[in-house]
């Protein structure tokens, strides 16, 4: 029988994969996709808690997270386009102008 714990384990694994992508990948776009993976892992955990606590509040929170994530992706990608115009690269190890 599938219970709350199974959903939470899937959520943890998804979050870990996203974190691994943020830590290891060097392409800024793929780092962004990994951030989306982490947000979706949080959404899955919230929806699972919402069902097993029989309260709808978790789903409302997921709704807000999806909205904020969409706004964040739009602004982030616009920043990336502006950055690419300036520096002709989206690799994080070449964007080190602020490094000491």
């Amino acid at each position: 029988m599938i219970g709350l714990n199974h959903y939470l384990v899937i959520s943890v694994l998804l979050f870990s994969l996203g974190l691994l992508g943020v830590l290891l990948r060097r392409n800024l776009l793929i780092v962004y996709m990994s951030l989306e993976l982490m947000l979706n892992a949080a959404n899955l955990a919230l929806a699972a808690f919402s069902k097993y606590n029989q309260q709808l509040d978790g789903q409302i929170l997921v709704f807000f997270i999806v909205t904020v994530a969409a706004a964040e992706v739009a602004v982030g990608l616009a920043l990336m386009v502006a950055l690419f115009r300036l520096r002709q690269t989206v690799r994080v190890d070449e964007l080190n102008a602020m490094k000491l």
């Binding site: 599938i2 714990n5 199974h6 959903y7 939470l8 384990v9 899937i10 943890v12 694994l13 998804l14 979050f15 870990s16 994969l17 996203g18 691994l20 992508g21 830590l23 290891l24 990948r25 060097r26 776009l29 793929i30 962004y32 996709m33 990994s34 989306e36 993976l37 979706n40 959404n43 899955l44 929806a47 699972a48 919402s50 069902k51 097993y52 606590n53 029989q54 709808l56 789903q59 409302i60 997921v62 709704f63 807000f64 999806v66 909205t67 904020v68 994530a69 969409a70 706004a71 964040e72 992706v73 739009a74 602004v75 990608l77 616009a78 990336m80 386009v81 502006a82 690419f84 989206v90």
Partner: protein
């Protein structure tokens, strides 16, 4: 039946996520974006299994539709073709994997060590758009309006950021 579907959707989600982060066949960011769509579809199936039908629809519409179009649009706009394999520092990769593995095992240990929920299991909960909308517009009206202003700010910000010369 539900257990088999859970396993299927969980597998689709996790395999898609692995291929987004570390695709052994291709370094192409477009491939990663496509596997991100696979992950979103798997997650949408998990939402349906959780009884969150509205969220499943939102997941497909907003993520697999809008966000993914944005990603692909920027990918095509930047036209990154010299994405060749560079040698990765093995020490960094090992350390990162080790840290993330430690975090994941700690979290999973916490999940299974936590006391059981006091609510006696899931009741059939009708979570279509109706009850969700009622709650959204009665209890969460102020956050809803704040989010709409946030979206407006994001629209204006993106237009200004995308202008040719930012002063």
């Amino acid at each position: 039946m539900q257990d088999a579907l859970f396993l299927l959707f969980a597998l689709v989600t996790l395999v898609g996520a692995v291929l987004v982060v570390a695709n052994p066949f291709s370094r192409d960011p477009v491939a990663s974006a496509m596997f991100l769509v696979v992950t979103f579809i798997g997650l949408s199936g998990l939402f349906v299994l959780l009884g969150a039908f509205f969220l499943a629809a939102i997941q497909i519409l907003v993520y697999a539709g809008a966000v993914m179009v944005l990603f692909l649009f920027v990918l095509m706009l930047l036209n990154l073709r010299e994405e060749q394999r560079r040698k990765y520092s093995l020490v960094k990769g090992f350390l990162g994997t080790l840290l993330v593995g430690l975090l994941a095992s700690f979290l999973i240990g916490t999940i299974f060590g936590a006391p059981a929920l006091t609510v006696p299991g899931p009741a059939p909960m009708n979570a279509g758009a109706g009850p969700l909308g009622k709650m959204l517009f009665l209890h969460y009206l102020l956050p809803f309006e704040v989010v709409s202003i946030l979206l407006l700010v994001a629209i204006i910000g993106v237009v200004i950021l995308s202008k040719k010369d930012i002063r």
